[in-house]
Symmetry: D2
């Protein structure tokens, strides 16, 4: 058995950071040995610096780590970034400059032309941007990102359909409260209510989707030439973003072919049997009222995308729904899967 | 002061029936003097036959009425129908045949070619179908219907925009649990969850919208020639259906003109100051996260449609959200407003 | 018609302050003409300084008031205090010293020996502390307080039973999220959950209840010599605190007498027909599953206490439940009723 | 490795039956080979007869079983009973008479003087009733029961304290909706609400607790001579019953001794390492706001009881809270643990 690869988490005390800590527990390849956070926390034990908000207990192997400043130095080569957008640009670049592989869940670098925005089942080849990034920026290290949580659900649902020529997409999201972190959404706002607005979310879904579904074109990603319109809503659900999708294709498939495309879809993470990859990334549920967030999001360790209600759309070609676990597949799990992909690409050597 | 017009409610003991009873309380023109229900209840006092599920107390003036069979005879000329779809066809037709004006919230006759499907602010002129209906069916009475609750919200949101030439609409609903009646949705299904399916709802929204926005064409309604695609979802909200709308026009207006169309929209119910008509039927809320079901649906006595978040749509022309109170404007209040309109048309003479 | 009495609100921009603004709208005796808040807000229009969180719209008569510093000077004689506990001691005392009548919802002075802690239906006579307070502190003004929101529900439920000799009370609360203000309870904590802890609440319920049910003893309130034990919980309900009560009496009444005591209970606010007083302060609901927060808390303008499920207790004498609206009867409405009582006592002259 | 013991489930298609099916999946000792249900289902495959309502998928090994009538005959010796109370008396007795070991979750026989009402950590010795039961009733088989879900939480919380002499207990429950089965509680009743009544629940908690904490006295159980008063409430929580407890002892311990009693508590199931027994049956959580249903009920496979907030009670000696998973430890898991205990007692030979 190979020794595990040591990894760190930037912004480890916040909600997303806690999800990284939890998701990495017992990981077969990676061992979390370093946690970084803001000045306020550094120097304390992780257990003392962190108000643990997740179910279950704080992993004991992490609880006794001393929180470090978010500065390169003694950090391991691979660092996952859960840093707040207000500081992520500077922190992530300083680590990449110092030779670290920064696998980031933050939004800051997602739309940079030389930074891969990865959903490994959909666009693993976008990793080809990395050498360009290193050359252009003079970095020995690198930054690789995963999309916004709602974008991941949408692009995993659309990924298997790419060959039909996606032309137009109208999507409405029903997003869980955990997507807003902690304290996040006040209960007075969301109890028995819907909040029909999430700041910046619609714009992110629209442009990130085009980039993820786009093509590597030598020195940049050519975004998919498809119209994407998002309506984003917060609903009183704990975990699991559900989206309704109407889609128009260049080549409308028969419905059987569409279902087949979902069910047979396998990609690089499955071929390489990456440890966090779901055996079947997109699962079609035949029940007429499934998938549902509370009942389905946690299946497959929260790493699959569930689709259902596939039917003809009177306006476009088809409509259907998709569901994914926003804090697992949509955040920490996404980044860890990216890192696993990068290991198999030799990008960490 | 004129004496009030006596009215009855068919199916008065069920949830929708209770909403009629509540809404008619203190009505300036109508006085509820007759309640009909199934055999199981007839002969009992309304208070004994009815498990009152609404907030507040059962109106005392109704509590002592004796529940009658749902058969014409001693019923007043105007009857509101809250009967279950399984029996509504037969009951409503027997009353119309016997000379009653049946103002129905049931779905059974909505799509009949000679039956008006009314949203008084949008298509009051569809009442011209009534003489045709009476002639064709040989009835002295008549049946007039109001749409499904989610359709009302959509058509009130689209009504002011009709002059721009509505061509395509993609709509996703987030519907309140009260829309499913009582016992309705089991809490095990909807607590902290979304149910992405409501049986028959999408089809109803699609065809009803086309009929309501259509034109009276001498002997029938010419449906609007526009594609309408609906995604219907149940969310854990008590009252108020929220819908997200993307719309394409034949003549795309400037956004200021669109907002103006909402805000200046007035129609027959406002001109005639019908007692249940909201002074301003469509209210634009400028806040970036409004309207919201729990905070806004009950305003204006639950009879207005609230719109917000009007913005460019990357796929169609504009997108926005609309909200309405599903058991008031979407059911009992809708039917009562229809009856008020009919009074002013002389249809009850 | 007499001119209205001008009043002010200290801490007017916060959640409790907003409840005062809303509750005072259209008040027959009082006119809100002055709003005070922290430095951060002073000098702005109320509409600009305030993120309005309540249902409905901000009252337009208040929206254009200029927010003042929380310092006596141009404030009207009567000021309601919704100030935060961290500053309430100093602010309220400075106003009282300057001759103002401070009717406070803050906790800071509640347990002072010379400050009335009022529930007007239960202990209106405790206002006799005021002259003592003025003499002792050398104030021309005065401070009068209302209890914590959960205490009000408990003491209104126990008030009618005082003559039976209350000896021991075990109470468990199920408290609404609105009691924690805004942003208050994070939705991640309370969605589909219970939080079995509210900081300081149990201690407040225990000692405040003894003081409220105690006797004016010449120069102080002799607390009721009864054991009171509280278990406080937050539940995912918007408005309305429900409490379960087991109570032991010195003289156990027959159950019919207990029910009679609830139903016949009337006190000073009812005798004097104070405008905010509910005609019947304690309403017994006979249904075996009532009262319920969502269905009942808002009845009677939110000013009554609803009791139900009265039955023998195997451990003490009786057990029952009580419900009250925490932000109305439990906060703003309580203070306004206190002020109305004080007007009729001539304490504002 | 020993062959597994075959078991059956009576009432297997209902909600409790489904919980048995799920809980028995992969059980190390028992293999579910027989499912019984009402006439309506018998003869069908389990997959066709059952609307699966639980998270995850129906276990495939059970899906293809043919549902049998609830009559002895080809059923295995051990049957778990999840039958409805309306038929449980007759069905369970017919199986016991025919020589089966009926391990029942139904309430019908719980309070029979010759039927054990077991919580294996608390009163394993009550199994001594079985020979008496067989002799008295002339049965070769037997009926053993587990308590009501809320009673289990209370008695596991009180069990470790028995040696201090429990004299009086006042308990208020905050019970999850899953306790009411499916469709169970209508969402219109419980959304953002509390229902302060659960039919028959308080009476069950009171008498069952006294029996469980009672002593085997040769030919019957001498109930604990302690007053128990329960207030039962339904709250909008999916799984996990939380109870607040005030308790009076004959010998009041120091608080350290009370905490010690919780933490050190081990009993027969732990000594014998029964497969479903939690290693530590009662877990004290030191956080001031724990345990909480959504965050804690599922820990320890849902089989432990979590206690917290232990503090002095101004009326009795101590107060604290307890939490347990109502459909696991409070139903299916309880019965399976009973059966495991019985295996080790040789009662199945």
């Amino acid at each position: 058995m190979q020794p595990k690869i040591e990894v760190g988490v930037l912004g480890a005390t916040g909600m997303v950071g806690q999800h990284f800590v939890k998701f990495l527990q017992g990981h077969p390849w990676f061992k979390l040995t370093w946690v970084g956070a803001s000045d306020r926390s550094s120097g304390k034990k992780y257990r003392d610096a962190t108000g643990w908000r997740l179910g279950g207990e704080m992993p004991s192997s992490v609880a006794d780590l001393t929180v470090e400043d978010c500065k390169p130095g003694n950090a391991p080569k691979i660092v996952f970034s859960a840093t707040d957008a207000s500081v992520a640009t500077e922190i992530e670049q300083s680590f990449a400059k110092a030779g670290h592989v920064v696998v980031s869940n933050s939004r800051n670098h997602r739309m940079e032309t030389d930074v891969p925005l990865l959903v490994p089942e959909v666009n693993a080849d976008h990793l080809q941007l990395v050498p360009l990034q290193q050359r252009k920026r003079g970095w020995k290290g690198q930054i690789v990102t995963n999309p916004n949580c709602s974008t991941i659900v949408l692009t995993m649902g659309l990924g298997p359909l790419k060959s039909f020529g996606i032309r137009r997409v109208v999507v409405t999201t029903l997003q869980a409260i955990s997507g807003a972190g902690y304290p996040g959404v006040p209960s007075m706002d969301i109890n028995a209510n819907v909040i029909p607005f999430i700041g910046g979310e619609e714009e992110k879904m629209q442009v990130e989707t085009q980039k993820i579904l786009g093509e590597f074109a030598g020195d940049h990603i050519q975004p998919l030439d498809a119209g994407v319109s998002a309506h984003c809503n917060r609903v009183p659900v704990v975990d699991g973003h559900l989206v309704t999708i109407s889609v128009e294709f260049a080549n409308k498939p028969a419905i059987a072919d569409l279902l087949d495309a979902f069910t047979r879809f396998r990609a690089v993470p499955q071929e390489r049997k990456l440890p966090s990859a779901p055996p079947q990334p997109v699962i079609h549920m035949p029940g007429n009222d499934r998938p549902q967030p509370r009942r389905d999001a946690e299946r497959e360790n929260g790493m699959a995308c569930f689709v259902g209600r596939v039917r003809e759309c009177p306006v476009f070609d088809y409509k259907f729904i998709a569901l994914g676990h926003n804090t697992v597949r949509g955040a920490a799990g996404a980044a860890v899967l990216n890192a696993e992909l990068m290991v198999t690409e030799g990008l960490l050597d």
